[in-house]
């Protein structure tokens, strides 16, 4: 069975500081990994995805994530956080033939202090 763990329920960072959101996954085959962002009352916006190749993937809004197979992790990073980054972030895992049938983590709520 596939699963995703986001260990941090809530993270607070100061504007301009760096950010890392953790994601650990469990999947029986080659995983397809995603990070989504959800602003309050809004839908899910895809930040980035990893299927294969370079393990460091670049996404929108200055985010990047690194796939580490040995650690079953896919952590999201941003070098300098902006106040507009405050939102909920979801990591998700799917398979090659059913990426749309993804399993989501519980989410991490990011608060940005001025």
């Amino acid at each position: 069975a596939q699963s995703v763990t986001q260990p941090d329920i809530h993270i607070t960072v100061s504007e301009g500081a760096s950010l890392e959101l953790r994601c650990n996954y469990s999947y029986g085959a080659t995983p397809y990994l995603f990070w989504y962002v959800q602003s309050p009352g809004q839908g899910l916006q895809l930040l980035l995805k990893y299927f294969s190749g370079d393990t460091l993937v670049q996404g929108i809004k200055g985010f990047e994530a690194e796939f580490k197979r040995s650690q079953s992790s896919f952590n999201l990073r941003k070098p300098s956080v902006h106040w507009s980054d405050a939102a909920e972030y979801f990591c998700a895992v799917g398979g090659y033939t059913n990426a749309g049938k993804s399993t989501f983590g519980d989410g991490t709520t990011l608060t940005v202090k001025p």
Partner: protein
Amino acid sequence: EPEVTQTPSHQVTQMGQEVILRCVPISNHLYFYWYRQILGQKVEFLVSFYNNEISEKSEIFDDQFSVERPDGSNFTLKIRSTKLEDSAMYFCATGIRPTEAFFGQGTRLTVV
């Protein structure tokens, strides 16, 4: 930029009533999904749909739920007899291939 459109954005219905949530996928997309997110909880997969039939469904997707693509355009989720616990945000997602899923903005369903 093309996007997945969901209507209505908010639906309030009485318990026991039928509701239909609609999704207009991005043109040429072939894979369709419904998810739900109960307030404060994680996003949960409901069903995937391809080639006019259900590909996979979760345990949540019981006989009260159905999906169809009646006119080759809209992709709908029907809940036959709503319960209070069906109150949630429902997301449609579509993709041109099985390795992607673009999400709509969601429909907030409130059952009273």
